[in-house]
């Protein structure tokens, strides 16, 4: 199959950045040793923050629930270690904000065994019980957006799911976490797929893997045969292209469906899950282990010893980098996530989150800004954009501050994959300008809404007052 690389499926448009995966793709996942302190933000997922269930001074065990979901679109938080809660307060989040977080100090004498929990058979559970179970596992999408997984298993009434699409693309350069997981734990992924596919009652499951991971494709195909799931599960090799791991792009690559603008994969009958999430289902139902640790690729030219590490959630970034031999003197910037969409860090005293797929250290060469010229409308961004936008036009409008017009040019369909900036020969920070435009547009919308509400409230108050005066006048008239 891999010899047919140019014939393999993919989505339209997109880019081909150099992969930079050589340094870590062959390195087996290693367990990161425990450190002294862990910081667990109450909101490291999309949705409502968790509500803490423990108080400062409480002893907690590894795998114990320390915070409960703050709503349906929210999830559970578990302690990654056995130790003691030492603080509940604002801590620095990777994006620079201060967020409420629990801080846990490890018990140095504990053997760090997982809080025992009997295996749960997921198959006989009712749909609601299953969704609650998954929410109890604290599972979120491990690709980066950290969307609570259980929500995807409860399609709104009227929507039917017919296909489960498992995302093993890992199209971001440098990152090799999913790659290693597919090579090392294909059976766990297949078991997770069996659980999810049974629950969603899908007709078919596909695992999309890019052709630059032939060993992962082989491992998964072997696991499919071993599980006897050849009729329901297909491994689909995909042409190497960025951003194939974006769920809408992946669906297009595999099935050719176009998810409607503003819609979800559900609108075309699909649920997309990361391979790591599938293994997470297996860990929870069979092993009783909630999401308390995840695989992180530590890489980039600025790191001494690149590695794929199994890191407890909440481990400080500094500790992870130190474990890998620290940063080289030439390091200029550390990024959480991939080089195309990752979060630049202003400091290393932030925790590894549930959604952290990589920690990359970049040097002068990667962070030097290219010389910038005016846009010559060469169209390379247009050919790169997987959302079929006109980034050239959008960056021009963003520079001019014309927020109304950016909306008409579909700015809200931008997935911020950064392909436009990558392709721009004029060195224009296209996606960065589009982000500015998006947030300015959001602010303007919020302001307009607030103004309209204020006006409405005013009108209502005036109306009420008028009604009152007429009422009292009428009353007075009645008396007279």
């Amino acid at each position: 199959m891999s010899s047919l690389s140019t014939l393999a499926a993919s989505f339209r448009h997109g880019i081909h950045p150099s992969e930079h995966k050589e340094a870590t793709e062959g390195l087996a996942i290693q367990r990161m040793p425990f450190v002294e302190r862990y910081v667990l933000p109450l909101s490291m997922h999309t949705g409502a923050p968790c509500r803490p269930l423990v108080a400062v001074g409480d002893a907690v065990e590894r795998g114990q629930v320390i915070a409960e979901p703050g709503g349906f679109v929210s999830t559970t938080l578990h302690s990654p270690v056995t130790g003691k809660v030492v603080a509940l307060g604002p801590r620095r989040y990777p994006n620079g904000n201060l967020v409420q977080a629990l801080e846990i100090e490890i018990d140095p004498f504990s053997p760090q065994r997982l809080l025992p929990r009997a295996p749960v058979d997921p198959f006989p559970l009712s749909d609601d019980e299953f969704v609650t179970e998954v929410q109890r596992a604290g599972l979120v999408g491990l690709g980066g957006a950290a969307f609570p997984t259980h929500v995807k298993y409860k399609p709104p009434p009227g929507k039917t799911v017919t296909r489960l699409v498992v995302n093993g693309c890992e199209c971001e350069p440098y990152l090799t976490t999913d790659h290693r997981l597919m090579v090392e734990r294909p059976d766990a992924i297949l078991r997770g797929i069996a659980i999810a596919a049974h629950r969603l009652r899908v007709e078919e499951t596909v695992i999309g893997v890019e052709l630059n991971k032939p060993d992962a494709i082989r491992a998964l195909e072997g696991a499919v045969v071993k599980a006897g799931a050849g009729d329901e599960v297909r491994v689909v090799p995909l042409r190497v292209k960025y951003p194939q791991g974006a769920e809408k792009m992946l669906i297009e690559a595999v099935y050719g469906f176009e998810v409607p603008s503003g819609g979800l994969p559900l609108d075309v009958g699909c649920v997309v899950n990361n391979v790591g999430t599938m293994a997470g289902l297996t860990d929870w139902f069979d092993g009783g282990q909630p999401l308390i640790e995840r695989v992180v690729t530590v890489g980039g030219p600025g790191v001494e010893r690149p590695a794929n590490l199994l890191v407890p959630v909440g481990t400080p970034v500094r500790a992870v980098l130190d474990h890998c031999g620290g940063l080289k003197a030439a390091t200029r910037e550390v990024v959480m996530g991939g080089p195309m969409m990752g979060q630049p860090l202003a400091g290393l005293d932030v925790p590894v989150l549930k959604g952290t797929s990589g920690l990359l250290a970049f040097t002068e060469a990667e962070t030097r800004l290219p010389a910038e010229y005016t846009c010559i409308k060469c169209g390379r961004c247009v050919d790169a954009c997987p959302q079929f936008l006109n980034p050239s036009r959008l960056q021009r409008l963003a520079r001019a501050g014309r927020w109304d017009e950016v909306e008409r040019w579909f700015v809200n369909d931008c997935v911020e994959c950064g392909s436009c900036t990558f392709a721009c020969p004029s060195g224009i920070p296209v996606v960065q300008l589009i982000r500015v435009a998006k947030s300015a547009l959001r602010e303007q919308k919020a302001k307009e809404k607030a103004e309209a509400q204020a006006k409405e409230a005013e009108a209502k108050a005036a109306e009420a007052k008028a009604a009152q005066t007429t009422a009292s006048a009428a009353a007075a008239g009645g008396q007279g």
């Binding site: 409607p260 819609g263 940063l327 003197a329 910037e333 990024v335 846009c375 950064g418 990558f422």
Partner: protein
């Protein structure tokens, strides 16, 4: 935040730049360089056919363009006024303008064309990337309007002059603001399009391909220009759809005319290979700044140029119309871009869903 995570000694500077961190490595000066590289053989051919005069005319036009850019373009903050020139766009405009001029043109006119092309064609709009019309063609249109006689005095190729490449043409050295003395008839010749329009006389296609004909400097050898175009397509330096659309439209339109009345109208092969069509299609119409940024728009733009070229050549008062055809379509480019904007991903599906919802119980 603390930086103690870094190695000891002098602390390197941290930056917090936002993603993406990877770039393709293609740059705008690089693209300009590609086009200059592609145009170089055309220039060499011009020198081989018309002698050193060709080089002088190109140099004069380039000098006019580059000096105007250096003198009047807004300076980059903290940089020398010559820093602007490093993007290579003014140089390219000058060379392209030079190649649209006749070999015996007074050098001061070529220089002035460069000045006007950059000044009125580009800088007045706000510089690179902001102009509506192709600057080189603006320069040429100005010259054509101001000095119609000089612009249509086509000298014979050097071979007809005895073959010495170093023989310069007297016309080149007319004093500024002066017209050159009328050239002896032996030194001038009609272009193939002139011959066709006014004398109904076709030129052999082989001559058109090799370029052994009278004409502007760069428009003589269709074969070399075609090869340059293929190189640029391979380098992805421009949208291949534009020249493809122009050439197809011209071939189709003139082909129909020829089929209807082969005695009255030139053959499509003649139309394709003569005059400035090939040069205009490959080097002028493909200027990304002045053509629409949308795949469907590129087809419409190119087809428009093709239709106008045939209309002007066949029914217009002038023998050649490539320049005006491109300039006219330049003017229409923003409009074309607006109406041919591709539908964003997911909007087709969205529209389909809305249509389904709006349909009153149909199909149920």
């Amino acid at each position: 935040m603390s930086e103690s995570g870094m190695g000891g000694g002098r602390q390197p500077r941290w930056v917090v730049q936002s993603a993406p961190f990877l770039r393709q490595g293609v740059t705008t000066p690089g693209l300009m360089r590609d086009v200059l590289l592609a145009v170089a053989p055309v220039l060499v051919m011009a020198v081989l056919y018309f002698g050193a005069s060709a080089l002088l005319v190109c140099l004069a036009a380039t000098l006019g363009a580059v000096l105007t850019e250096a003198a009047f373009a807004p300076r980059l903050p903290g940089r020398s006024r010559f820093a602007r020139l490093t993007d290579g766009s003014a140089l390219l405009t000058g060379v392209l303008l030079g190649l649209t001029l006749p070999p015996a043109l007074p050098l001061w006119m070529a220089f002035l064309g460069g000045v006007v092309g950059i000044g009125l064609g580009k800088l007045i709009w706000g510089g690179l990337g902001h102009n509506l019309f192709n600057p080189a063609l603006v320069g040429r249109a100005f010259l054509q309007a101001a000095f119609p006689l000089s612009l249509t005095t086509w000298s014979v190729p050097s071979r007809a002059l005895g073959g010495n490449l170093w023989t310069l043409r007297a016309g080149n050295f007319a004093w500024p603001l002066m017209q050159p003395a009328a050239q002896p008839d032996a030194m001038t010749a009609a272009t193939p399009l002139n011959l066709m329009k006014f004398d109904h006389q076709a030129t052999a296609l082989a001559d058109l391909l090799r370029g052994q004909i009278a004409g502007s400097l760069g428009e003589t050898s269709a074969a070399v220009i075609l090869l340059a175009g293929i190189f640029l397509v391979a380098r992805r330096a421009f949208d291949w759809r534009i020249p493809a659309a122009i050439l197809t439209t011209v071939a189709a339109f003139s082909g129909v005319l020829w089929w209807l009345a082969p005695q009255r109208y030139p053959s499509p092969a003649f139309m394709l290979l003569s005059g400035g069509l090939m040069f205009g299609a490959v080097f002028m119409a493909t200027d990304p700044v002045t053509s629409p940024l949308a795949p469907r728009g590129a087809w419409i733009f190119g087809a428009g140029v093709g239709v106008l070229v045939v209309l002007i050549r066949v029914w217009g008062g002038m023998p050649e119309g490539v320049m005006y055809a491109i300039l006219l379509m330049n003017g229409a480019a923003p409009l074309i871009e607006r109406v041919t904007q591709q539908r964003a991903f997911g909007h087709r599906a969205l529209a389909a869903r809305k249509a389904k919802a709006a349909a009153p119980g149909a199909g149920r």
